[in-house]
């Protein structure tokens, strides 16, 4: 029953370009210049972090006692200067980014996975299941964040010692503590989306086609939630960087010898304005990374929202 017009169109070589949802998402994202620029900055920083041992001019704990507290200079080897022990500050910042980013990404992925699972189950099954899971979520939300963080960090996250017989690196412990507090936002978002998706006819159609609950959740409902999930993951990453920095600044986060951005600021702050670079550079990096992630999240939110037809300048 091929309509003749369409046949003609195809035969004349008029290619109706089929764009998938993701092609539209890409298109919209790349129109958001600030987001694209931020993404490039982020990727560069991430690359530097991943290849820290190759990129950094010195080891992060390499001492140069002849050149302590050298101010930043383009001559010689220490662009970001050196600290009180003569350690090259650029290298320390690079390794700091490595630790901080690693923790932030770990927190974001773990919090998203846990939050999505809990939100999806609560939203899909509803009733008592929903009630139980959401009251638990509320409980976590009512915990005073900073107090829990500090307590947990002191009692459980201060070294590499084994927990329940499993040896966990100390930065990962900080990540676990943060993820424990951060998954609730994702759970609530996903539950809300599932509550509305559950009533959609295509879900009923999938049920009528014999699809199991798991298949409906994984294949029909989750892909429809990807936009908000991806956005909240990015935003969690940014928050995690800031909170981890704050925690490390207070001395409860990442412990030496690991370098973390917050820890670097904490170590440098005693010197005040004399050794200004000790505080400025890691602080600047934190600001840039957090800002860039937020811009990317902003761009993604616009790009993933199919109702957003406005073209960004």
């Amino acid at each position: 029953m091929g309509s003749p017009d369409l046949t003609l169109a195809y035969e004349a070589g008029v290619e109706l370009k089929a764009r998938s949802q993701w092609a539209y998402v890409r298109m919209r994202f790349f129109r958001h210049r600030l987001a694209v620029a931020s993404l490039i900055v982020l990727l560069l920083i991430a690359l530097v972090a991943v290849f820290a041992p190759q990129v950094a001019p010195y080891g992060f704990d390499e001492l140069d006692l002849d050149n302590t507290t050298q101010s930043p200079t383009l001559e010689g080897g220490h662009i970001f200067g050196t600290d009180q022990l003569g350690r090259d500050y650029l290298s320390r910042v690079i390794f700091g980014i490595r630790t901080s980013l690693w923790v932030a990404v770990f927190v974001a992925l773990l919090a998203t996975a846990v939050g999505t699972a809990i939100g999806a189950i609560a939203g899909y099954f509803g009733g008592q299941t929903d009630n139980l899971l959401m009251r638990f979520t509320d409980l976590i939300l009512t915990l005073p964040g900073l107090a829990v963080l500090l307590t947990a960090a002191v009692y459980f996250g201060s070294d590499d010692s084994a927990v329940l017989g499993v040896r966990i690196p100390q930065p990962m412990k900080i990540g676990l503590i943060l993820a424990f507090l951060f998954w609730t936002a994702v759970a609530r978002i996903v539950r809300g989306l599932f509550l509305s998706l559950r009533e959609k006819e295509f879900v009923e159609a999938a049920k009528a086609a014999g699809a199991s609950d798991l298949r409906i959740i994984m294949r029909h409902m989750l892909p429809n939630c990807m936009g908000p999930i991806i956005v909240s993951t990015t935003l969690i990453t940014a928050t995690a960087i800031l909170v981890e920095a704050a925690l490390s600044f207070l001395g409860f986060g990442i412990q030496p010898p690991n370098a973390a951005l917050g820890k670097l600021i904490a170590d440098g702050q005693g010197e005040g304005f004399n050794l200004w670079w000790l505080v400025t550079f890691p602080g600047l990096v934190i600001v840039i990374v957090a800002l860039a992630i937020n811009f990317v999240g902003d761009g993604l939110r616009d790009a993933l929202d199919p109702t957003q037809r406005r073209v960004r300048a």
Partner: protein, 346 residues
């Protein structure tokens, strides 16, 4: 069309479905019984809220419980009562031997998956060993069958790249993917415009030729019934009020509601000044009128007491029980012509 005389493939017996709402219990379906014979097209007609969709959805376990409840009834499909089957067994049957076509193809397809993905999924769920290539080949074959042009290309397109008619073809392809023996079409043409409706009717005919499935055609479009159905079930306020083969129902209806439906139909072959609507509103299903639920709107009842007090028995008018109606005064309608009856103010 095959004769509807063999063993029924689906027997619905005494089915009652209720919904608990804040305003009270909605009696959506009340003591409904009908049979579906292999290979036939059974039209289920009635206005919105008459329980025609709910009766089939509840048979397939697709109404949410709670708030839904099925206090009585059975639905025997191949010796098994669908209402008592465990969930996993019901999942096997849904989309396999009993498939469903939904009303609105705009919302019944998942926007983030390609048409091909969704049809292949239906195939793979019921045939776990199928390879991706085999499923894809079968999907293209199905799309071709239901008249989607350039099936090899369109299989990779998303629902938003399909028109309404094409999507409904896709839905039909998905429904017949596993050669079902029962196909439930829930208002398959309601969301489409008239020219597309005609095409979809053809596709449904093709689908039936191909699968030999018995079709339950749920609709309020009497034209569609006349076009496709072998037998007709007329529902009103959650009850079956008349059942018979399509010619009998159209030529000599034995229930005043059916007569009303016929008279409210625009016809090309009659010189009509205006259509005859059925007076009044459909009753509340929370507190349906006592006796015959149709009596407040009925022109035949003429205030007779029995209509207000007794629920009419569902009676048969011939030996084979091929034509039955639930009206106390069905005989008064007799074999009178519908039009003539209307003119006389029935």
């Amino acid at each position: 069309m095959p004769e509807a005389s063999r063993e029924p493939i689906l027997e619905i017996r005494d089915l009652t479905v209720e919904f608990n709402t804040e305003d009270g219990v909605v009696h959506a379906v009340t003591h409904v019984s009908y049979d579906l014979h292999p290979g036939e097209v059974l039209g289920v007609v009635g206005e919105s809220g008459s329980g025609k969709s709910v009766s089939m959805l509840s048979v397939l376990g697709l109404i949410p419980q709670p708030p839904g409840r099925i206090p009585t009834g059975e639905a025997i499909f191949r010796g098994e009562d669908l209402l008592k089957l465990p969930k996993s067994r019901l999942q096997d049957i849904r989309g396999g031997q009993v498939a469903m076509i939904f009303q609105d193809p705009m919302t019944s397809l998942n926007p983030v998956l390609t048409i091909g993905d969704q049809i292949s999924e239906a195939i793979k769920v019921h045939n776990p060993g199928t390879s991706d290539d085999a499923a894809r080949a079968r999907t293209i074959e199905l799309l071709d069958l239901v008249g989607v042009p350039f099936a090899e290309r369109r299989v990779d397109q998303y629902p938003h790249e399909f028109s309404g008619g094409m999507r409904q073809r896709g839905m039909i392809a998905m429904a017949i993917a596993n050669n079902p023996s029962v196909l439930v079409a829930d208002e398959p043409t309601t969301a489409l415009d008239v020219t597309i409706q005609a095409q979809i009717v053809e596709v449904l005919k093709t689908a039936q030729r191909e699968t030999h499935a018995a079709i339950v055609l749920i609709t309020h479009d009497l034209g569609l019934i006349a076009e496709l159905a072998d037998r007709v079930v007329v529902m009103y306020a959650g009850r079956v009020v008349e059942l018979g083969d399509v010619f009998t129902i159209f030529n000599s209806p034995r229930h005043p509601y059916t007569v009303g439906l016929m008279n409210s139909l625009a016809r090309l072959d009659a010189d009509q000044e205006r259509l005859e609507p059925i007076p009044g509103q459909p009753p509340s299903l929370i507190s349906p009128p006592p006796g015959c639920a149709f009596h407040p709107r009925c022109t035949l009842s003429q205030g007779r007491a029995i209509c207000r007090t007794d629920v009419p028995e569902f009676r048969s008018f011939d030996e084979g029980e091929a034509h039955s109606s639930a009206c106390h005064f069905a005989e008064e309608l007799g074999a009178r012509q519908v039009r003539v009856g209307a003119a006389e103010g029935i």
